[in-house]
Structure formats: C-alpha cells, structure tokens
Symmetry: C2
Subunit: 191 residues, 2 copies
C-alpha cells in the first residue's frame, strides 16, 4: 500500500513520519531527493538525498522520479526505483510530498492512500515555523503564502488529519492505515 | 454517522456490537423489530422488539421502518424514528442488519459506513452455530445456505472485517470509525 502524506511546511509531517516509522514495522519511508540545503541536523540519505540542481535535472531527464515538483525555488523528487522495490516486496511505502507531487502519484497509483496533515490554524503554523528558527523572515513569508495555497488542495485527498497533538494525529493515521486494509476493494483485489 | 454492520448469522456480529457499545460512548444502537421468537436470554426492547407478524405488517404499512427484510421465515426491521432522532442529536448510530436491509439503508444514507463481518470460514461458522445450540439441524442447514448467499454481497460494502479474534475485529472496526471521521468528504461537509 502506498501512503502519501502532504500538508504545509510546519504542519508537523516530519515528526509524524518519524513516529509512524518507529511504530509500524511493515512501513518503509521513501527518502526524497532535493536541491535545497540541509537544515541543521539533517543527514544526507536519511532526511533527504541532497543533490545539485544539475544532478536533479539529470535525474528528471532519465525518468528517475515517480514525481517531482518545484516548491518556491527548490526542487524535490521521489526516486521511482526504491518505491517500486519496496511495494514489490510487500511493504507499505510512506511518501512525504507536496500537493503537486501527490497529484502526479495519484495518476499512477490511484489506489494509494492520500492523507493531508493540517496545522490547527495558519496562525499556529507561523508560530511553529518561526520557532524552528531556520528560516529568514522572507522565507517565512513565502512559506506561509505557500501554506495558504496548499490548503486549497485538501479536497483531492482521501483524509484530513489536523495535527493538534502529535500523538493523536499519529493514532489517527494508524487507524486510517488499519481501516484501508479492511477496504472491500482492497481485500477483494488480494484474493 | 450511520454505521451498518452485516454478515452471516454466526459471524459474531452480536458480540462485536456489544463490545463497540460498551467502548464507544458516542454510539447508539438501533434495536431492531422482529417476528422471530426470543432465544434464551434475549430481552424485549434490548436485543429486539419482539412483535407478532400482524404488528410487523402494520408497521410496514404505516412506513415505520427505515428498512425491513425477510430472512427465511422471519421478518426483521429497523424503526425509522429512533435512528433519525439519534442522528439529529449528533450520535453515531449502529445498525446490525442483513444485506437486503443494508442496501435499502444505503439508498437513503449513501454516506453511511457499511461494514461486512465475515466468519473465518463457512466451516467455522457451522461450528459456531452448532455450539450455540439454539437451532434445530434443519434451521442450521437453512442458516448455512443463507450465509453462503450473504457472502456474495460483500462487494457492496465499504469494509470487510474477518472476525477471527473478537478483540481484533472490534479494534479494526474502531479504526474504521476513526478513519471515516477523518475522511475528507466528511470533514469538508461539516464545515
């Protein structure tokens, strides 16, 4: 099962993903490729594969991405091979991607589970992004505008999870995965 | 939210319903009306409203049922008023009805959550029905035929839950209810 998590930056997707990965042994995380610089503490190959713009463009050219997108001035992409490998081995795969990327993935994997993680409010979002302290005021402004824009795409997702308390949000997502495995369409397909 | 539970007799729907009701304070059970005789321990107004065939027909005539169905030689129906009252008060309502009834309910409540509870196998079902000791061999034969017939209708349900271990089945259904409350269509509708 392919599980796609989207939501504005600052909604807490990263923390949620880490929790899901530590609690669910049957799930694998697809590490994205990006041209943005690592934030403090981020590790190449763990949080992202950090590549140059030129390397990214080469990967696009040779069809190495399941989806890719430009988010303000940076590029992000999901390497196709690893995802297909995990799925073929029977794992669930977790993608944390933006709404542009999600709509590309939905075309290829319509049976994927698409979950949108919301911050409790845009105000709360601003506080969180500011609290992270890794953004300049200009970057923050851009992120907030982007967040507002991303929120418009909620309706193309299957589920919305408001990340008020991380623990609750994680429990809701775990329930969604359990429920999806009982979905009639999925159960019948497997027989 | 209207929650419909169906499945062949002997699949364990009764036990599951009792567990759900004791664990979820926001859910109400709709007591069905039936023309069959009470089994040992069943109480009028709790397990069913036990009525005569004539009374049942009068209720049908005055449109008192949300759905009703004939299952072998007995009639079963869901009194409409109570369900609508609970839903209007913001409760979830749990209906345990057969597949004929479920398809009637689906026409009126397309946003309902339709869950099919399966026994692990038909063989297991026979053991369970026999173990209950309340059926004659003829009744049991009829019930098993009916079960086989009911299993064909699984595909019109949203979810299938195999009742292998009651505790697990109950947890799965609770996850389904949590997930459904995060469904984008439902969340957007409420706003």
């Amino acid at each position: 099962m392919l599980v796609v998590l989207s939501g504005p930056s600052g909604a807490g997707k990263g923390t949620i993903c880490r929790e899901l990965l530590s609690q669910l042994p049957e799930i694998r995380y697809s590490v994205s490729v990006t041209t943005r610089s690592p934030r403090a503490g981020e590790k190449d190959g763990v949080d992202y594969y950090f590549v140059s713009r030129k390397e990214f463009e080469e990967m696009v050219a040779r069809g190495a991405f399941l989806e890719w997108a430009q988010v303000y001035d940076h590029f992000y992409g999901t390497p196709r091979e690893k995802v297909e490998e995990y799925l073929a081995s029977g794992y669930d795969v977790l993608l944390e991607i933006d709404t542009q990327g999600a709509s590309q993935v939905k075309e290829r994997f319509p049976a994927g589970v698409f979950i949108f993680v919301c911050p409790p409010s845009l105000q709360e979002l601003a506080v969180r992004i500011a609290g992270r302290g890794t953004e300049s005021p200009e970057d923050m402004e851009i992120r907030l505008r982007w967040a507002e824009n991303e929120l418009k795409d909620v309706s193309s997702y299957d589920y919305v999870v408001v990340n008020d308390v991380v623990k609750d949000a994680v429990e809701k997502i775990k329930s969604i995965l359990t429920a999806e495995k009982c979905r009639c369409a999925r159960v019948m397909q497997e027989r």
